[in-house]
């Protein structure tokens, strides 16, 4: 596994001058993923923050071949690119070894692009799909997605006098992809960059479809200061809201286990979208959120053959 010195020596696949917000963790996640892939990569991205900020014509932050097609079809588009690679390589028209990475936000992955992703994973293309999960439709102005946490305040499920943010728990997308029996699947966080780096390396080295779900805190969407993104990612892991684990050869494995599981409030209290959870009258919602985190964590521990 590469050290930071080695990673810094690699040709950057993404340049500065992109227009992500200050402190954008999705942008950082892209760098971390792309740095973990030293060879030739062709990338694609669903419509969303990262596509928008990296490619405003006539500018592009991409130093590698890149395609954006639409919102819901990043996986299908890259599967077409990969199919072209297979045949053109067979015909000798392409001689290089190339890896393929499709990116999508939680909107483009959990929701509108789920079918396209499912199809690509089932067909078994030799590609990696990376979801950068910032837990809402940030590009269009912070609307809820199926990845948005319970009780979070968003523009389409706001906190009002009667309704207190999102009523549902987030979809377990990583588990849905695991159910496809893919070659490799994992959850990662930019706060644990070595873990993320290793997972990307592994995903690209394995033949067949791979999926990594990367938590990507969003300063304006979650409402925390621009220097707090990595801390928000770290606390999501330490509270077990975002467990780091991987799936390979039919088995799940925790890749990081917090020494001491922090209460979810340690994560929520820094974020404007959860401010109401820390008011006396909404205490029950915070408790409810905690119960679901506990339930899911225990379920995952059992699946990983670990004890609490």
């Amino acid at each position: 596994m590469a050290s930071l010195k080695e990673l810094a020596a690699r040709e950057p696949k993404l340049s500065p001058g992109h227009r992500a917000c200050a402190g954008c963790i999705p942008a950082l996640a892209f760098h971390q993923v792309l740095r973990s892939a030293p060879g030739y990569v062709v990338a694609g991205c669903a419509t969303g923050c990262m596509e928008v900020v990296t490619t405003i014509f006539p500018y592009t932050a991409w130093n590698i071949p890149f395609i954006h097609n639409a919102f819901e079809n990043s996986a299908a588009t890259i599967s077409g690119v990969e199919a072209a690679y297979q045949v053109l390589k067979r015909k000798g028209k392409v001689t290089k070894d190339i890896k393929f990475i499709a990116f999508g936000g939680d909107g483009g992955t959990y929701d509108i692009g789920l079918q396209s992703l499912s199809g690509a994973m089932e067909r078994g293309h030799n590609m990696l799909y990376v979801c950068y999960d910032n837990e809402a439709y940030m590009n269009t102005g912070i609307q809820r997605s199926s990845a948005t946490p319970f009780a979070a305040d968003t523009k389409t499920a706001p906190v009002g006098k009667v309704h207190k943010g999102k009523k549902q728990y987030p979809k377990k997308l990583t588990e849905i992809i695991i159910a496809h029996d893919v070659a490799y699947a994992a959850q990662a966080s930019p706060s644990h960059w070595r873990d993320l780096n290793r997972k990307v390396e592994k995903a690209l080295s394995i033949e067949g479809p791979a999926f990594i779900n990367v938590l990507a805190p969003c300063p304006p969407g979650w409402r925390f200061p621009s220097d707090m993104g990595l801390e928000m990612a770290r606390l999501a892991v330490e509270t077990c809201f975002w467990p780091l684990y991987e799936f390979e050869n039919g088995k799940r494995k925790l890749t990081y286990k917090p020494k001491e599981k922090l209460p979810i409030s340690e994560w929520t209290k820094h974020q404007g979208r959860f401010r109401h959870l820390h008011q006396e009258e909404n205490k029950h919602l915070l408790e409810q959120a905690q119960q679901e985190v506990d339930r899911r964590w225990n379920e995952l521990l059992a699946l990983c053959g670990e004890s609490a």
Partner: protein, 94 residues
């Protein structure tokens, strides 16, 4: 920006210049500025690894400075700088 006619630009919205965004300077977005103190730096590269632009300049495995052409002043670099080093400090830009 040079405003080219439809006859002068590649068809289909194709961009042929990799990394052309380098010509778009985002440094003016900044209201806080990270100041890097070389003498205190322990060269752990944590700042480089935390910068979303990236605009921490690294040469031969060592930090050499911050590229203010692009730095948006988010403060992530200062945040991850180990406490014992404290080699990056944020300053108000204006």
């Amino acid at each position: 920006m040079s405003e080219k006619s439809w006859k002068e630009i590649p068809i289909g919205g194709l961009i042929l210049e990799p990394g052309a965004s380098r010509r778009y300077k985002t440094g003016s977005w900044r209201s806080f500025k990270p100041i890097w103190f070389e003498e205190r730096c322990i060269q752990c590269l944590a700042c480089w690894n935390a910068c979303p632009e990236p605009c921490i300049m690294v040469m031969d495995g060592k930090v050499t400075g911050i590229d203010y052409d692009y730095c948006k002043g988010c403060g992530l670099c200062a945040k991850v700088c180990p406490e014992k080093a404290h080699a990056i400090e944020m300053q108000a830009e204006f």
